[in-house]
Assembly symmetry: C2
């Protein structure tokens, strides 16, 4: 991950093309830095071509007079003057050697940088020269710009001064922008015929990018000594002017470096002075040290300020450290942060549409998404997709739909007051978002505010958890008199989720009786008229990561629907809403929960994973029967709900890309391996599985501080022993506190890209700590997170 040091200012040098003078500019930068009296590191990770022409040789040759200050090094050298991926092939064609993977490559580069940084804390400069153009292939065949992205180094782009060079320079710049790079400067030769600089100078100035030019180098001379002298003289001349040309670039890069550090230092204070955070009691924030400064993010990691390193002016440590995003940024991350495919999808839709008005209109991204969802989570029951902006608004839409369907069915026997008082049937611990309508569908509790008015009735649900290696169903007190026990031992996780096999068990009958009796009692005591069943199927998130016994939810749905002809897609009894904002689209392994429960909703909501962890978008799916409740010839009876950016093309296109990528992931070796580790005892496939290791989960459940543990898909939930349970408990937060500290296994590189020690950012819900992965987090990262959790739990 990002390398940024106080004493060592590093820039990577990208080229707009090959043969644009990358080595010449880097050499002159090295020389100009040395002229400023700085220690200079020149790193050329990969060099192709004859040894005599090699870049590090070139640098060494033309900086001899400053050799005490300069270290030049190449990590991988190939003789063929072709693209690195071909050079590897040509050299290694007869051997069985594999070229280094990007991960290994970046680990060695990052490690080398750390070694340079530790070599002293005097002010120093470093230039890392990439190979070819911004998208020239790496040794393993990916692209320079993608490969170096984890290090997130500030960038100098060497522009192209030849015919066509305006285009290649701007395109390269855009490719760098698409990876989030900060381009501090563009440099190119001052060509008086094509005059590209004349065009590019105002172009980049408008974009806040510094541009400098230098003269072309002299032509090659036949006599080596003369050639050396003329080239040396050239370097001398272009680095001699005090405040222009290359020296001005060096000074500008220093300024950028200084500004970067200043920003990181000032950000906590500025944030504390201007921002009001969600779900944060500012009265408990003690000061700068409590603010997590996120400089960038990549894959599963944030790159955050290491406050100790930043505060210590003599530190040779990186002031940025990787931090594992243990809540997948509030359950959104799907493929990790800053995935180029999602960026491209967003850029493409932005370039084609921006945003366009949606009522009575259609554009391809929205249409494809609607069709894909109806054919995915909506398959077999849904016929309509309604777009909104986030899970909370998607749920408000769902509730409006269900209430209208219910009141329409009542043939207008309800007056306005009664309509306002219609109730939701749900489960205790439910959470559907923070807008007041979504809150009103939940019990009053921790998330309550002034206008929150719980409308409905909520059951205490039985939940699933693992303790001491045993899978248990915990029966709440209110239900225990029907089930005749407080816990039911399950055969296995798989057994719990094979709901069809459990539908005729005594427990199922106890659930049904409990539900029926409770609803009758509610009715008798004049409780609210219930208009819809609303559940988070399988796993209730914000309420405390409650893994509800799926059998209970199945029985509940069957009960409130009453008898229903199998083939009909018309709703009966109460309309049923599945809030799949959190659990949907493979967050817990399955695309949707209907197949697990064996019943389908009349309305469902997807968000979060929907856009792969990039931007807000929600889709409410619904059956034709619900849709028809709004049909009439009166506009006033339409669903009058919309947001300015309804079905914004960027969100839809990113969602389409996400769903395509999920389809591929479902066939990946990683998922097949994870599914294989959760097979049933007889070797058959289990209906549920997790990216977390079942043995790890089992062992954790045996620890004395752990009350219960459970894992599905990318979610691991650990409930700790604590007398003061609930949201305001600090027990889980306190227990896992050591995870925040950046660490790496003794003496070896960490599994974070670049191998630096990393901390873990995790979120708790009172006595529950949960850990989440992206859906494509690598096995090595997951294993190392498990190790860190294990270490923390066993060392206390």
């Amino acid at each position: 991950m990002s390398s940024l040091f106080q004493h060592l200012r590093i820039h990577q040098v990208f080229g707009a093309n090959t043969n644009v003078g990358k080595t010449i500019f880097t050499t002159s930068l090295v020389r100009a830095s040395a002229l400023r009296g700085k220690k200079v590191f020149y790193l050329k990770p990969v060099s192709t071509g004859p040894l005599d022409d090699a870049d590090d040789h070139h640098v060494n040759r033309y900086t001899t007079k400053y050799s005490s200050l300069i270290t030049a090094e190449c990590l991988f050298r190939y003789d063929e003057p072709v693209s690195p991926h071909l050079a590897v092939k040509l050299r290694d064609v007869e051997s069985t050697r594999q070229p280094p993977s990007d991960a290994t490559f970046i680990d060695s580069v990052a490690n080398r940088i750390r070694i340079y940084a530790k070599s002293g804390n005097a002010p120093a400069h470093m230039y890392l020269e990439t190979a070819g153009g911004v998208h020239s292939p790496t040794l393993s065949g990916t692209s320079q710009a993608d490969c170096y992205r984890p290090l997130f180094l500030p960038t100098v782009l060497v522009g192209d001064s030849q015919l066509g060079g305006i285009s290649t320079t701007i395109s390269s710049y855009e490719s760098l922008l698409l990876r989030g790079y900060t381009v501090d400067a563009v440099v190119l030769f001052h060509d008086d015929y094509y005059r590209n600089w004349e065009y590019l100078k105002p172009y980049f100035a408008e974009r806040g990018v510094f541009l400098a030019t230098v003269d072309h180098p002299p032509g090659k001379l036949a006599d080596p000594l003369q050639d050396f002298a003329s080239t040396d003289q050239y370097y001398e001349s272009i680095t001699s002017v005090e405040s222009e040309g290359i020296r001005s670039v060096v000074d500008h890069l220093d300024k950028c470096h200084h500004h970067r550090l200043q920003d990181l230092e000032s950000m906590p204070r500025r944030a504390l002075d201007s921002i009001w955070w969600p779900f944060v009691q500012h009265g408990l924030v003690q000061g700068d040290k409590d603010v997590n400064v996120i400089d960038s993010a990549y894959a599963d990691f944030f790159s955050v300020t290491n406050k100790n390193a930043l505060a210590d002016r003599s530190s040779t440590q990186s002031v940025l450290s990787p931090q594992y995003d243990g809540s997948a940024s509030w359950w959104t991350q799907t493929f990790g942060h800053a995935h180029p495919s999602l960026t491209m999808a967003a850029a493409k839709a932005s370039g084609r549409y921006g945003h366009v008005m949606f009522p009575q209109a259609v554009h391809l991204p929205a249409l494809k998404l609607a069709e894909r969802l109806l054919n995915g989570p909506g398959k077999g029951w849904a016929s309509r997709a309604f777009f909104s902006d986030n899970g909370s608004t998607g749920m408000e839409v769902a509730i409006k739909m269900a209430l209208r369907a219910f009141t329409t069915r009542q043939q207008h026997n309800l007056n306005n007051e009664e309509k306002k008082e219609l109730g939701i049937l749900g489960l205790k611990g439910s959470y559907h978002g923070d807008t007041i309508g979504a809150m009103d569908a939940c019990e009053e509790g921790i998330y309550t505010c002034e206008w929150h008015e719980s409308k409905g009735f909520w059951f205490d649900p039985p939940t699933v958890g693992i303790k001491d290696g045993e899978v248990l169903i915990n029966i709440p007190a209110s239900l225990a008199s029907f089930s005749h026990s407080k816990t039911v031992k399950a055969e296995s996780i798989a057994w719990v989720y094979e709901v069809e096999n459990r539908i005729n068990t005594p427990l199922a009958r106890a659930y049904a009786m409990y539900v029926t009796r409770a609803l009758e009692a509610l009715n008798q005591r004049g409780g609210p008229v219930l208009a819809a069943l609303v559940i988070e199927p399988i796993l209730m998130g914000a309420g405390g990561m409650l893994f509800v016994d799926p059998l209970f939810q199945r029985v509940l749905v069957d009960t409130v629907r009453g008898r229903r002809s199998g083939a009909s897609h018309r709703w009966s009894g109460l309309p049923v809403i599945f809030d799949e904002v959190f659990v949907g689209l493979n967050r817990i392994g399955v695309e949707s929960t209907g197949p697990l429960l064996g019943v389908y909703p009349d309305i469902s909501v997807n968000a979060k994973v929907l856009t792969g962890g990039l931007i807000p978008l929600a889709v409410t799916l619904t059956s034709q029967s619900i849709f028809e409740a709004f049909l009439s010839d009166s506009k006033a009876e339409a669903l009058l709900h919309g947001h300015s950016y309804t079905a914004h093309p960027i969100g839809c296109e990113v969602a389409n890309e996400t769903l395509s990528m999920l389809d591929k992931l479902a066939l990946s070796d990683e998922w097949i391996a994870a599914q294989g580790s959760w097979v049933k005892e007889n070797g058959d496939q289990s209906p549920v599985w997790s990216l977390w290791d079942p043995n790890f989960v089992g062992e954790v459940s045996k620890l004395p501080q752990v009350k219960e543990v459970m894992a599905l898909g990318s979610v691991l939930s650990i409930k700790v022993e604590d007398k003061a349970a609930g949201y305001t408990s600090q027990s889980a937060q306190t227990l896992f506190q050591p995870l925040y500290e950046p660490k790496a296994p003794d003496g070896i590189l960490s599994s974070a890209p670049g191998g630096a020690p990393f901390g873990i950012h995790y979120r708790t819900l009172g006595d529950v700590a949960y850990f989440m992965t992206s859906l494509n987090t690598s096995v090595s990262v997951i294993r190392s997170i498990e190790d860190r959790i294990w270490e923390t739990l066993t060392s206390t």
Copy 2:
């Protein structure tokens, strides 16, 4: 705007660089199309270099045997072999000729395409060859990719087969994606040494892009006849293979063309089968013809299916027409659709962060946005920025803040039931979004749904409008007994908005008395306890484009606040919320409404324009005093409101870019000119102004069908004479129906990019039709919209 014809399949050919064989590939495409028996048009809009080498000469030379089928043409020719912008300078250096602007240039290209298309309806192909690389400068000095964007032609990219060509090819492709282009095929030379094709083939296959290669052309021969023969033989050979090479490209492009038309044809039906639109009564949608198919968008125009042209198989008209986005896509568009600067901002943030978790964290895009807003609309009163996803959620946050501030001030003298029943003071016709909490702050009315429960009291406001050239303040009946008249004639628009001058008038005293009496009466009859004043300052949008007399809102704020020491930023009386979602950030000319009203809110909300019309984001600004009402040592007392994507970096970065661009726009000639046309009679600057022409507004107000008209900033509102006023009225919709028809002034090009006839998409609110521009809509477009409106109003 987009050109797409049934019989004429057009592709533009972009190059990854100069000298990649663009002309050779285009020539072979032309030849292969002719071999398929198609009529072929080769269009090279700009050619630089010696006439003998010119591309159209080349094409003509090597396609003589098909000359009956082929038309080759160049529109602008320059002799110098340099970039077009330089060629223009070199040639025109001594003349005073200006190079054609992009707009003029695109008009001539589009016009030429229309002429070709009309020349017959037999199946034909056209290849438009661009100059240089994708970002090579145009004659006027912008870039090829940006300049051709309005035509939105499907694209063939000629890749680069040389060393470095992998990088330039991919970067060029990405630059095209950033403009939304669909790249149907990549073609490049089959180079056996660098083997770029070997790398690029799977690369593009993974992205769904067809790639084909052909052999290098033979070297140039000294003898012209031999050279011709060898080159001709080369073309013969690369176009001779039936299903490979260039022929396969031609067939693939045909397939893409067919698929494109099929999509456009099927989209209405598919939309009607899968989508549930916001604010649409599907029961009133009669069928395919009612669905607006938006293929792309650019600047102020959608590119929509022209259903007549699409249905008529023998039509030679474009099946896509420009359609002016007359509601600025629900009041969001700021710089028009698909502005590259916003795309870049989005891409950059996506590449650097994706999305990252926000509670107790900070990232630069959010921090900069918070600081910028506090220093802009929040200047002088706000100290905190709270992020959410859209106007509705931003208002829910604002309401939660105000209610808590109020209850805290009440020293806990309110019980839970009383807190639920706290009321909002507002104006009739208010609208704050569709989530239920936001709805509850408004009166029941058209937007009502089951759970909507109006909480509060709403005044009938006096409004401003122009009729028969006179500016009138319309006093509602309930207020007339205080003001002693039903209308007050204003001196001018400027006079109305110079609130400070009116604060001691009899009308101001009448307003104050009315407000005081009504609140006392409410109190006496046991009305709700009012906890906050919530207004849309100056202009209430969804309620019917009501231009509220600013004096009334000023008096209202002063009254509910009671006496307040001038310097204090602590709230007093009731906390005041300004919902500036619609009016804020220059939509009505001013950045915020506080300076106009002479009072500032305690809480305000911005959205819509905030992200320039690209993606959802909202910010709620608040004073320190409101913030402090939530401070304690209990997490439960924090503002427990957040969305998964809170402060998503893409939204924040796009907002920062938007605000920078607005700052520049404020200094633009266009704004200064528009402001100049709204000066006061004495020539002094008016506090308000509009992009609409004041004379036009005045003249419209004199038409008999027009009840009232008003304009501020980018908003023009026309209320039509109609007995059945209100939201369900169809009068405005019916009156302006002719605007939908694509039209251009007789015999000349329209002001839409490319000059094609355009329709106008407009939205109505019952008896009110409103027309909106982006904040940078060109004067020529605005004048032509005015002409169309005038024509429609005077021809009925």
